[in-house]
Protein backbone atom coordinates (compact mmCIF):
# COMPACT_ATOMS: atom_id res chain seq x y z
CA UNK A 1 0.00 0.00 0.00
CA UNK A 2 2.72 2.59 0.71
CA UNK A 3 3.40 3.03 -2.99
CA UNK A 4 3.08 6.16 -5.08
CA UNK A 5 4.27 8.62 -2.41
CA UNK A 6 7.88 7.73 -3.10
CA UNK A 7 7.51 7.34 -6.83
CA UNK A 8 6.09 10.81 -7.34
CA UNK A 9 9.17 12.40 -5.85
CA UNK A 10 11.37 10.85 -8.51
CA UNK A 11 11.67 12.05 -12.11
CA UNK A 12 9.43 10.20 -14.51
CA UNK A 13 10.98 7.93 -17.08
CA UNK A 14 12.81 4.68 -17.32
CA UNK A 15 14.72 5.06 -14.11
CA UNK A 16 11.62 5.54 -11.97
CA UNK A 17 10.44 1.98 -11.86
CA UNK A 18 13.88 0.54 -11.29
CA UNK A 19 14.79 2.89 -8.49
CA UNK A 20 11.49 2.49 -6.68
CA UNK A 21 11.74 -1.27 -6.96
CA UNK A 22 15.27 -1.17 -5.57
CA UNK A 23 14.18 1.32 -2.98
CA UNK A 24 11.38 -0.95 -1.88
CA UNK A 25 13.66 -3.99 -1.87
CA UNK A 26 16.24 -2.35 0.41
CA UNK A 27 13.49 -1.05 2.63
CA UNK A 28 11.97 -4.52 2.89
CA UNK A 29 15.26 -6.25 3.56
CA UNK A 30 16.18 -3.62 6.13
CA UNK A 31 12.80 -4.21 7.79
CA UNK A 32 13.30 -7.96 7.86
CA UNK A 33 16.87 -7.64 9.09
CA UNK A 34 15.94 -5.34 11.95
CA UNK A 35 13.05 -7.64 12.87
CA UNK A 36 15.15 -10.80 12.85
CA UNK A 37 18.27 -9.36 14.50
CA UNK A 38 16.92 -9.40 18.09
CA UNK A 39 15.99 -13.06 17.74
CA UNK A 40 19.43 -13.98 16.42
CA UNK A 41 21.00 -12.02 19.24
CA UNK A 42 18.79 -13.80 21.79
CA UNK A 43 19.82 -17.20 20.38
CA UNK A 44 23.48 -16.18 20.47
CA UNK A 45 23.23 -14.89 24.05
CA UNK A 46 21.51 -18.06 25.26
CA UNK A 47 24.17 -20.13 23.47
CA UNK A 48 27.01 -18.24 25.19
CA UNK A 49 25.48 -18.53 28.68
CA UNK A 50 24.78 -22.19 28.00
CA UNK A 51 28.37 -22.87 26.86
CA UNK A 52 29.79 -21.06 29.89
CA UNK A 53 27.53 -23.13 32.18
CA UNK A 54 28.86 -26.31 30.56
CA UNK A 55 32.45 -25.16 30.96
CA UNK A 56 31.98 -24.27 34.64
CA UNK A 57 29.69 -27.11 35.81
CA UNK A 58 30.81 -29.83 33.40
CA UNK A 59 27.51 -31.81 33.69
CA UNK A 60 26.96 -35.23 32.07
CA UNK A 61 25.58 -34.80 28.55
CA UNK A 62 22.27 -36.51 29.46
CA UNK A 63 21.56 -33.70 31.93
CA UNK A 64 22.79 -30.78 29.88
CA UNK A 65 24.18 -31.39 26.41
CA UNK A 66 26.39 -28.73 24.86
CA UNK A 67 24.91 -26.21 22.43
CA UNK A 68 27.11 -27.63 19.70
CA UNK A 69 25.78 -31.15 20.13
CA UNK A 70 22.19 -29.86 20.25
CA UNK A 71 22.80 -27.88 17.07
CA UNK A 72 24.23 -31.04 15.54
CA UNK A 73 21.14 -33.05 16.48
CA UNK A 74 18.93 -30.21 15.23
CA UNK A 75 20.41 -30.26 11.75
CA UNK A 76 20.55 -34.05 11.73
CA UNK A 77 16.83 -34.19 12.47
CA UNK A 78 16.14 -31.39 10.03
CA UNK A 79 17.97 -32.98 7.11
CA UNK A 80 16.67 -36.46 7.79
CA UNK A 81 13.18 -34.97 7.44
CA UNK A 82 12.15 -36.17 10.92
CA UNK A 83 11.85 -32.67 12.29
CA UNK A 84 9.86 -31.42 9.34
CA UNK A 85 7.44 -34.35 9.44
CA UNK A 86 6.88 -33.98 13.17
CA UNK A 87 6.46 -30.22 12.88
CA UNK A 88 3.96 -30.69 10.06
CA UNK A 89 1.95 -33.16 12.12
CA UNK A 90 1.84 -30.78 15.08
CA UNK A 91 0.97 -27.80 12.89
CA UNK A 92 -1.87 -29.76 11.30
CA UNK A 93 -3.30 -30.64 14.71
CA UNK A 94 -3.10 -27.05 15.94
CA UNK A 95 -4.49 -25.65 12.71
CA UNK A 96 -7.51 -27.96 12.69
CA UNK A 97 -8.30 -27.30 16.34
CA UNK A 98 -7.86 -23.58 15.74
CA UNK A 99 -10.19 -23.63 12.74
CA UNK A 100 -12.86 -25.44 14.74
CA UNK A 101 -12.45 -22.88 17.52
CA UNK A 102 -12.85 -20.06 15.01
CA UNK A 103 -15.94 -21.64 13.45
CA UNK A 104 -17.62 -21.96 16.83
CA UNK A 105 -15.97 -19.11 18.73
CA UNK A 106 -16.55 -16.20 16.34
CA UNK A 107 -20.33 -16.72 15.99
CA UNK A 108 -20.58 -17.38 19.72
CA UNK A 109 -18.65 -14.19 20.48
CA UNK A 110 -20.95 -12.21 18.20
CA UNK A 111 -23.97 -13.68 19.95
CA UNK A 112 -22.62 -12.83 23.41
CA UNK A 113 -21.76 -9.29 22.34
CA UNK A 114 -25.14 -8.67 20.72
CA UNK A 115 -27.53 -10.34 23.13
CA UNK A 116 -27.78 -9.39 26.77
CA UNK A 117 -29.55 -12.70 27.52
CA UNK A 118 -26.84 -14.72 25.79
CA UNK A 119 -24.17 -12.82 27.67
CA UNK A 120 -25.83 -13.52 31.02
CA UNK A 121 -26.18 -17.17 30.19
CA UNK A 122 -22.89 -17.94 28.47
CA UNK A 123 -20.42 -15.55 30.06
CA UNK A 124 -20.39 -17.25 33.50
CA UNK A 125 -19.87 -20.63 31.84
CA UNK A 126 -16.91 -19.29 29.90
CA UNK A 127 -15.43 -17.67 32.99
CA UNK A 128 -15.76 -20.96 34.89
CA UNK A 129 -14.05 -23.04 32.24
CA UNK A 130 -11.40 -20.56 31.16
CA UNK A 131 -9.02 -21.03 34.12
CA UNK A 132 -8.93 -24.82 33.65
CA UNK A 133 -5.67 -25.66 31.91
CA UNK A 134 -5.83 -27.79 28.75
CA UNK A 135 -3.65 -30.27 30.69
CA UNK A 136 -6.54 -30.96 33.04
CA UNK A 137 -8.65 -32.10 30.09
CA UNK A 138 -6.27 -34.91 29.09
CA UNK A 139 -8.00 -37.70 31.06
CA UNK A 140 -11.44 -36.71 29.78
CA UNK A 141 -10.14 -36.26 26.26
CA UNK A 142 -8.86 -39.85 26.32
CA UNK A 143 -12.09 -41.17 27.83
CA UNK A 144 -14.25 -39.32 25.32
CA UNK A 145 -12.21 -39.47 22.15
CA UNK A 146 -9.77 -42.31 22.75
CA UNK A 147 -6.09 -42.02 21.91
CA UNK A 148 -6.52 -41.02 18.25
CA UNK A 149 -6.36 -37.61 16.59
CA UNK A 150 -9.68 -36.39 17.96
CA UNK A 151 -8.53 -36.32 21.57
CA UNK A 152 -5.42 -34.31 20.69
CA UNK A 153 -7.40 -31.87 18.61
CA UNK A 154 -9.88 -31.54 21.48
CA UNK A 155 -7.16 -30.53 23.94
CA UNK A 156 -5.82 -27.89 21.56
CA UNK A 157 -9.37 -26.76 20.89
CA UNK A 158 -9.71 -26.01 24.63
CA UNK A 159 -6.52 -23.96 24.44
CA UNK A 160 -7.58 -21.97 21.36
CA UNK A 161 -11.26 -21.43 22.04
CA UNK A 162 -11.34 -18.75 24.73
CA UNK A 163 -9.06 -16.11 23.19
CA UNK A 164 -11.16 -16.23 20.01
CA UNK A 165 -14.48 -15.85 21.83
CA UNK A 166 -13.29 -13.10 24.15
CA UNK A 167 -11.62 -11.02 21.44
CA UNK A 168 -14.67 -11.33 19.22
CA UNK A 169 -16.93 -10.14 22.05
CA UNK A 170 -14.56 -7.27 22.72
CA UNK A 171 -14.30 -6.31 19.06
CA UNK A 172 -18.05 -6.23 18.50
CA UNK A 173 -18.73 -4.35 21.73
CA UNK A 174 -16.12 -1.73 20.98
CA UNK A 175 -17.45 -0.78 17.55
CA UNK A 176 -17.72 3.01 17.60
CA UNK A 177 -21.47 3.80 17.87
CA UNK A 178 -21.01 6.72 15.49
CA UNK A 179 -20.01 4.26 12.74
CA UNK A 180 -23.27 2.41 13.29
CA UNK A 181 -25.15 5.68 13.01
CA UNK A 182 -23.28 6.51 9.83
CA UNK A 183 -24.21 3.09 8.46
CA UNK A 184 -27.85 3.71 9.27
CA UNK A 185 -28.08 7.11 7.59
CA UNK A 186 -26.24 5.64 4.59
CA UNK A 187 -28.93 3.08 3.96
CA UNK A 188 -28.45 0.08 6.24
CA UNK A 189 -32.12 -0.42 6.98
CA UNK A 190 -31.99 -3.54 9.15
CA UNK A 191 -29.81 -5.07 11.82
CA UNK A 192 -28.45 -7.84 9.57
CA UNK A 193 -27.29 -5.38 6.98
CA UNK A 194 -25.79 -3.11 9.62
CA UNK A 195 -23.99 -6.09 11.12
CA UNK A 196 -22.54 -7.30 7.83
CA UNK A 197 -21.60 -3.91 6.41
CA UNK A 198 -20.45 -2.04 9.52
CA UNK A 199 -20.22 -4.01 12.74
CA UNK A 200 -18.33 -7.06 11.51
CA UNK A 201 -15.78 -5.20 9.37
CA UNK A 202 -15.19 -2.79 12.25
CA UNK A 203 -14.55 -5.73 14.60
CA UNK A 204 -12.21 -7.59 12.22
CA UNK A 205 -8.94 -6.20 13.66
CA UNK A 206 -9.92 -7.38 17.12
CA UNK A 207 -11.07 -10.77 15.82
CA UNK A 208 -7.71 -11.13 14.06
CA UNK A 209 -5.93 -10.45 17.34
CA UNK A 210 -7.99 -13.24 18.89
CA UNK A 211 -7.05 -15.60 16.07
CA UNK A 212 -3.37 -14.75 16.43
CA UNK A 213 -3.29 -15.09 20.21
CA UNK A 214 -5.26 -18.32 20.08
CA UNK A 215 -2.94 -19.89 17.56
CA UNK A 216 -0.14 -19.07 20.00
CA UNK A 217 -1.91 -20.63 22.98
CA UNK A 218 -2.85 -23.63 20.84
CA UNK A 219 0.73 -24.04 19.71
CA UNK A 220 1.93 -23.86 23.31
CA UNK A 221 -0.56 -26.61 24.21
CA UNK A 222 0.87 -29.00 21.62
CA UNK A 223 2.97 -30.70 24.32
CA UNK A 224 -0.09 -31.38 26.45
CA UNK A 225 -1.92 -32.79 23.46
CA UNK A 226 0.92 -34.99 22.31
CA UNK A 227 1.99 -36.12 25.75
CA UNK A 228 -0.35 -39.07 25.62
CA UNK A 229 -0.18 -41.91 23.16
CA UNK A 230 1.25 -39.92 20.29
CA UNK A 231 3.71 -41.39 17.83
CA UNK A 232 4.40 -38.25 15.88
CA UNK A 233 4.59 -34.51 16.40
CA UNK A 234 7.01 -32.22 18.21
CA UNK A 235 5.44 -33.10 21.57
CA UNK A 236 6.08 -36.75 20.78
CA UNK A 237 9.69 -35.90 19.85
CA UNK A 238 10.16 -34.37 23.30
CA UNK A 239 8.39 -37.16 25.18
CA UNK A 240 10.35 -39.75 23.23
CA UNK A 241 13.65 -37.95 23.86
CA UNK A 242 12.90 -38.01 27.56
CA UNK A 243 12.17 -41.72 27.55
CA UNK A 244 15.41 -42.65 25.83
CA UNK A 245 17.35 -40.09 27.89
CA UNK A 246 18.26 -37.97 24.89
CA UNK A 247 18.07 -34.49 26.32
CA UNK A 248 19.54 -33.12 23.08
CA UNK A 249 16.46 -34.43 21.28
CA UNK A 250 14.22 -32.85 23.93
CA UNK A 251 15.92 -29.53 23.35
CA UNK A 252 15.64 -29.81 19.58
CA UNK A 253 11.90 -30.26 20.02
CA UNK A 254 11.73 -27.23 22.29
CA UNK A 255 13.76 -25.09 19.91
CA UNK A 256 11.58 -26.10 16.97
CA UNK A 257 8.45 -25.15 18.91
CA UNK A 258 9.94 -21.76 19.72
CA UNK A 259 11.05 -20.99 16.17
CA UNK A 260 7.78 -22.10 14.56
CA UNK A 261 5.80 -20.13 17.16
CA UNK A 262 7.68 -16.94 16.31
CA UNK A 263 7.33 -17.53 12.56
CA UNK A 264 3.59 -18.17 12.68
CA UNK A 265 3.07 -15.11 14.86
CA UNK A 266 5.05 -13.00 12.38
CA UNK A 267 2.82 -14.23 9.55
CA UNK A 268 -0.28 -13.28 11.52
CA UNK A 269 1.07 -9.81 12.19
CA UNK A 270 1.79 -9.39 8.51
CA UNK A 271 -1.78 -10.37 7.61
CA UNK A 272 -3.20 -8.10 10.31
CA UNK A 273 -1.20 -5.16 8.94
CA UNK A 274 -2.54 -5.80 5.46
CA UNK A 275 -6.11 -5.90 6.67
CA UNK A 276 -5.95 -3.15 9.32
Amino acid sequence: MPDDTKASALPAGEGTLVSTARDRATKASKGTASAVAPYLFALFAVGVIWQVAIAVLDPPSTILPSPVSVAGTFFEELFSGELIVNAAVSLTRVTSAWLISALIGIPLGVLIARSRAAERLIDPIIELFRPISPLAWIPLAILWFGIGEAGKVFIIFIATFFPIVLNTVDGIKRVDPVLLRAGQVLGCTNQVELFLRVMLPAAIPSILVGLRVSFGTGWAAIIAAELVAANSGLGYLIADGMEILRSDLVMVGMIAIGIIGVLVDAIFKLVANRVG
Binding site: A182, Q184, V185, G187, A202
Partner: protein
Amino acid sequence: MDMSQPPGEAHRPDADGRAAIEISRVSKQFHDGEGGVVEAIRSTSLDIAEGDFVAIVGPSGCGKSTLLNMLGGFDSPSSGQILVDGKAIAGPDIQRGMVFQDYALFPWLSVLDNVTFGLKKSHSRSEARDEAMKWLELVGLKDFARKQPKHLSGGMKQRVAIARTFATDPRVILMDEPFGALDALTRRFLQQQLLKIWREHRKTVVFITHSVQEAVYLANRVVIMTARPGRIKLDEKIELAHPRKVTDPAFRDTEARIFEALDEELAKTFSLETSDGHAD
Protein backbone atom coordinates in the same frame (compact mmCIF):
# COMPACT_ATOMS: atom_id res chain seq x y z
CA MET B 1 -38.61 2.92 4.71
CA ASP B 2 -38.19 1.27 1.37
CA MET B 3 -34.74 2.18 0.10
CA SER B 4 -35.16 0.60 -3.29
CA GLN B 5 -36.98 3.55 -4.75
CA PRO B 6 -34.77 6.46 -5.65
CA PRO B 7 -35.52 9.86 -4.16
CA GLY B 8 -38.38 10.40 -6.58
CA GLU B 9 -40.13 13.53 -7.64
CA ALA B 10 -43.27 12.35 -5.89
CA HIS B 11 -41.57 13.24 -2.63
CA ARG B 12 -40.86 16.83 -3.53
CA PRO B 13 -42.56 19.38 -1.32
CA ASP B 14 -45.81 20.82 -2.45
CA ALA B 15 -45.86 24.13 -4.16
CA ASP B 16 -47.82 25.62 -1.24
CA GLY B 17 -44.53 26.22 0.50
CA ARG B 18 -45.01 23.63 3.19
CA ALA B 19 -42.01 23.28 5.45
CA ALA B 20 -39.65 20.39 4.77
CA ILE B 21 -39.27 19.88 8.51
CA GLU B 22 -41.95 20.70 11.06
CA ILE B 23 -40.94 20.48 14.69
CA SER B 24 -43.98 21.06 16.88
CA ARG B 25 -43.95 21.39 20.67
CA VAL B 26 -41.17 18.88 21.06
CA SER B 27 -39.94 18.07 24.55
CA LYS B 28 -37.30 15.60 25.54
CA GLN B 29 -36.44 14.28 28.99
CA PHE B 30 -33.67 11.92 29.93
CA HIS B 31 -33.14 9.82 33.00
CA ASP B 32 -29.84 10.89 34.46
CA GLY B 33 -29.07 7.42 35.80
CA GLU B 34 -29.39 8.53 39.43
CA GLY B 35 -33.15 8.47 39.56
CA GLY B 36 -33.47 12.06 38.38
CA VAL B 37 -34.81 13.43 35.14
CA VAL B 38 -33.00 15.90 32.93
CA GLU B 39 -35.11 18.09 30.73
CA ALA B 40 -33.06 18.59 27.57
CA ILE B 41 -35.63 20.34 25.41
CA ARG B 42 -38.90 21.98 26.40
CA SER B 43 -41.81 22.50 24.04
CA THR B 44 -39.83 23.63 21.04
CA SER B 45 -41.38 24.41 17.68
CA LEU B 46 -39.50 25.19 14.51
CA ASP B 47 -40.42 24.99 10.84
CA ILE B 48 -37.64 24.60 8.32
CA ALA B 49 -38.43 25.25 4.68
CA GLU B 50 -37.12 23.30 1.73
CA GLY B 51 -33.65 24.52 0.79
CA ASP B 52 -33.06 26.40 4.02
CA PHE B 53 -29.65 26.45 5.65
CA VAL B 54 -30.44 26.66 9.35
CA ALA B 55 -27.68 27.01 11.91
CA ILE B 56 -28.55 26.16 15.50
CA VAL B 57 -26.33 27.84 18.07
CA GLY B 58 -26.42 27.55 21.83
CA PRO B 59 -24.42 26.94 24.97
CA SER B 60 -23.28 23.38 25.53
CA GLY B 61 -25.98 21.25 27.07
CA CYS B 62 -28.72 23.32 25.45
CA GLY B 63 -30.16 20.30 23.71
CA LYS B 64 -29.12 21.22 20.20
CA SER B 65 -27.47 17.84 19.65
CA THR B 66 -30.52 16.14 21.15
CA LEU B 67 -32.66 17.95 18.62
CA LEU B 68 -30.39 16.86 15.78
CA ASN B 69 -30.42 13.25 17.00
CA MET B 70 -34.19 13.31 16.94
CA LEU B 71 -34.12 14.71 13.41
CA GLY B 72 -31.74 11.91 12.49
CA GLY B 73 -34.14 9.35 13.93
CA PHE B 74 -31.71 8.13 16.59
CA ASP B 75 -33.92 9.41 19.36
CA SER B 76 -37.60 10.24 19.62
CA PRO B 77 -39.34 13.12 21.37
CA SER B 78 -40.86 12.56 24.83
CA SER B 79 -43.78 14.62 23.61
CA GLY B 80 -44.66 16.62 20.53
CA GLN B 81 -43.82 15.55 17.01
CA ILE B 82 -41.38 16.03 14.18
CA LEU B 83 -42.59 15.74 10.62
CA VAL B 84 -40.36 15.56 7.59
CA ASP B 85 -42.28 16.13 4.37
CA GLY B 86 -45.44 15.61 6.38
CA LYS B 87 -44.40 12.22 7.75
CA ALA B 88 -43.34 11.34 11.27
CA ILE B 89 -39.74 10.16 11.66
CA ALA B 90 -39.66 6.40 12.17
CA GLY B 91 -35.91 5.93 12.55
CA PRO B 92 -32.67 6.70 10.73
CA ASP B 93 -33.13 7.01 6.99
CA ILE B 94 -30.91 7.64 3.99
CA GLN B 95 -33.22 10.57 3.17
CA ARG B 96 -31.81 12.36 6.21
CA GLY B 97 -28.05 12.34 5.78
CA MET B 98 -25.76 13.14 8.66
CA VAL B 99 -22.27 14.58 8.91
CA PHE B 100 -20.64 13.87 12.26
CA GLN B 101 -18.09 15.91 14.16
CA ASP B 102 -15.59 13.04 14.21
CA TYR B 103 -16.13 12.22 10.52
CA ALA B 104 -17.29 8.60 11.10
CA LEU B 105 -15.49 7.32 8.02
CA PHE B 106 -15.28 3.55 7.79
CA PRO B 107 -11.58 2.90 8.40
CA TRP B 108 -11.57 -0.44 6.56
CA LEU B 109 -12.80 1.12 3.32
CA SER B 110 -10.92 3.31 0.88
CA VAL B 111 -12.03 6.91 0.41
CA LEU B 112 -13.91 5.88 -2.74
CA ASP B 113 -15.63 2.94 -1.05
CA ASN B 114 -16.68 5.20 1.80
CA VAL B 115 -18.44 7.46 -0.67
CA THR B 116 -20.05 4.60 -2.61
CA PHE B 117 -21.28 3.00 0.65
CA GLY B 118 -24.62 4.77 0.52
CA LEU B 119 -25.00 4.28 -3.25
CA LYS B 120 -24.89 0.49 -3.29
CA LYS B 121 -28.65 -0.02 -3.38
CA SER B 122 -29.71 2.75 -5.69
CA HIS B 123 -26.88 2.59 -8.23
CA SER B 124 -25.13 -0.04 -10.28
CA ARG B 125 -21.49 -0.55 -9.40
CA SER B 126 -20.18 1.66 -12.18
CA GLU B 127 -22.81 4.34 -11.62
CA ALA B 128 -21.96 4.41 -7.92
CA ARG B 129 -18.30 4.76 -8.75
CA ASP B 130 -18.92 7.59 -11.21
CA GLU B 131 -21.22 9.41 -8.79
CA ALA B 132 -18.72 9.04 -5.96
CA MET B 133 -15.86 10.29 -8.12
CA LYS B 134 -17.95 13.29 -9.13
CA TRP B 135 -18.42 14.22 -5.48
CA LEU B 136 -14.81 13.54 -4.59
CA GLU B 137 -13.79 15.84 -7.40
CA LEU B 138 -16.17 18.48 -6.08
CA VAL B 139 -14.47 18.41 -2.67
CA GLY B 140 -11.05 18.29 -4.31
CA LEU B 141 -10.12 14.75 -3.28
CA LYS B 142 -10.33 12.89 -6.56
CA ASP B 143 -6.65 11.93 -6.33
CA PHE B 144 -7.17 10.40 -2.90
CA ALA B 145 -9.92 7.98 -3.94
CA ARG B 146 -7.74 4.90 -3.40
CA LYS B 147 -6.31 6.03 -0.06
CA GLN B 148 -7.36 4.69 3.30
CA PRO B 149 -8.97 7.29 5.59
CA LYS B 150 -6.14 6.97 8.13
CA HIS B 151 -3.79 8.61 5.64
CA LEU B 152 -5.92 11.76 5.45
CA SER B 153 -5.88 14.87 7.62
CA GLY B 154 -8.95 15.81 9.68
CA GLY B 155 -10.09 18.37 7.14
CA MET B 156 -9.75 15.90 4.29
CA LYS B 157 -11.67 13.27 6.24
CA GLN B 158 -14.52 15.69 6.77
CA ARG B 159 -14.55 16.55 3.07
CA VAL B 160 -14.89 12.83 2.33
CA ALA B 161 -17.74 12.62 4.85
CA ILE B 162 -19.46 15.58 3.20
CA ALA B 163 -19.04 14.00 -0.24
CA ARG B 164 -20.36 10.70 1.15
CA THR B 165 -23.48 12.37 2.51
CA PHE B 166 -24.25 14.61 -0.47
CA ALA B 167 -23.66 11.71 -2.90
CA THR B 168 -26.70 9.86 -1.53
CA ASP B 169 -28.82 12.89 -2.49
CA PRO B 170 -30.76 13.09 0.80
CA ARG B 171 -33.69 15.44 1.31
CA VAL B 172 -32.17 16.88 4.46
CA ILE B 173 -28.57 17.08 5.62
CA LEU B 174 -27.91 17.18 9.34
CA MET B 175 -24.50 18.41 10.43
CA ASP B 176 -23.39 18.03 14.02
CA GLU B 177 -20.60 20.54 14.67
CA PRO B 178 -18.86 19.20 11.58
CA PHE B 179 -15.94 21.62 11.69
CA GLY B 180 -15.60 21.74 15.47
CA ALA B 181 -12.46 19.64 15.59
CA LEU B 182 -10.62 21.44 12.79
CA ASP B 183 -8.07 24.25 12.94
CA ALA B 184 -9.19 27.74 11.94
CA LEU B 185 -7.75 27.73 8.42
CA THR B 186 -9.06 24.29 7.50
CA ARG B 187 -12.36 25.27 8.99
CA ARG B 188 -12.57 28.39 6.83
CA PHE B 189 -11.74 26.38 3.72
CA LEU B 190 -14.39 23.77 4.48
CA GLN B 191 -16.99 26.42 5.22
CA GLN B 192 -16.37 27.91 1.79
CA GLN B 193 -16.56 24.49 0.14
CA LEU B 194 -19.75 23.56 1.93
CA LEU B 195 -21.33 26.87 1.02
CA LYS B 196 -20.41 26.41 -2.62
CA ILE B 197 -21.96 22.95 -2.69
CA TRP B 198 -25.06 24.09 -0.84
CA ARG B 199 -25.60 27.02 -3.18
CA GLU B 200 -25.34 24.70 -6.16
CA HIS B 201 -27.57 21.95 -4.80
CA ARG B 202 -29.90 23.79 -2.42
CA LYS B 203 -30.26 20.99 0.07
CA THR B 204 -32.09 21.61 3.31
CA VAL B 205 -29.30 21.80 5.89
CA VAL B 206 -29.53 21.81 9.67
CA PHE B 207 -26.15 22.77 11.02
CA ILE B 208 -25.21 22.63 14.70
CA THR B 209 -22.37 24.86 15.81
CA HIS B 210 -21.18 26.77 18.83
CA SER B 211 -19.59 29.45 16.69
CA VAL B 212 -21.77 32.49 16.04
CA GLN B 213 -19.45 33.63 13.28
CA GLU B 214 -19.72 30.27 11.54
CA ALA B 215 -23.51 30.40 11.83
CA VAL B 216 -23.78 33.89 10.37
CA TYR B 217 -21.25 33.10 7.66
CA LEU B 218 -23.03 29.96 6.44
CA ALA B 219 -26.71 30.04 7.24
CA ASN B 220 -29.69 31.93 5.90
CA ARG B 221 -31.33 31.42 9.25
CA VAL B 222 -29.76 31.33 12.70
CA VAL B 223 -31.59 29.82 15.65
CA ILE B 224 -30.34 30.45 19.17
CA MET B 225 -31.29 27.92 21.81
CA THR B 226 -31.50 28.66 25.51
CA ALA B 227 -29.68 26.93 28.30
CA ARG B 228 -31.22 23.73 29.66
CA PRO B 229 -34.05 23.11 29.21
CA GLY B 230 -33.48 24.05 25.59
CA ARG B 231 -35.96 26.34 23.91
CA ILE B 232 -35.70 28.70 21.01
CA LYS B 233 -34.53 32.11 22.12
CA LEU B 234 -33.97 33.82 18.82
CA ASP B 235 -34.79 32.92 15.24
CA GLU B 236 -33.12 35.31 12.84
CA LYS B 237 -33.06 35.40 9.06
CA ILE B 238 -29.66 36.29 7.65
CA GLU B 239 -30.21 38.29 4.48
CA LEU B 240 -26.56 39.13 3.83
CA ALA B 241 -25.48 38.45 0.26
CA HIS B 242 -22.90 35.79 -0.52
CA PRO B 243 -19.95 35.77 -0.45
CA ARG B 244 -20.16 37.09 3.06
CA LYS B 245 -17.26 38.88 4.67
CA VAL B 246 -16.71 38.64 8.39
CA THR B 247 -15.20 42.14 8.30
CA ASP B 248 -18.26 43.64 6.66
CA PRO B 249 -20.09 46.06 9.05
CA ALA B 250 -23.47 44.44 8.30
CA PHE B 251 -21.99 41.04 9.12
CA ARG B 252 -20.60 42.42 12.37
CA ASP B 253 -23.93 43.96 13.32
CA THR B 254 -25.74 40.68 12.82
CA GLU B 255 -23.07 38.85 14.74
CA ALA B 256 -23.27 41.36 17.59
CA ARG B 257 -27.04 41.05 17.82
CA ILE B 258 -26.82 37.26 18.04
CA PHE B 259 -24.01 37.44 20.57
CA GLU B 260 -26.13 39.64 22.77
CA ALA B 261 -28.90 37.04 22.87
CA LEU B 262 -26.36 34.31 23.43
CA ASP B 263 -24.62 36.19 26.24
CA GLU B 264 -27.82 36.28 28.26
CA GLU B 265 -28.05 32.52 27.90
CA LEU B 266 -24.41 31.99 28.80
CA ALA B 267 -24.95 34.01 31.97
CA LYS B 268 -27.92 31.80 32.83
CA THR B 269 -26.00 28.60 32.15
CA PHE B 270 -23.21 29.86 34.33
CA SER B 271 -25.42 30.76 37.26
CA LEU B 272 -27.21 27.43 36.84
CA GLU B 273 -23.94 25.57 37.05
CA THR B 274 -22.75 27.47 40.10
CA SER B 275 -26.06 27.01 41.90
CA ASP B 276 -25.94 23.30 41.06
CA GLY B 277 -22.52 23.20 42.60
CA HIS B 278 -21.01 21.48 39.58
CA ALA B 279 -20.34 22.03 35.94
CA ASP B 280 -20.87 19.62 33.05
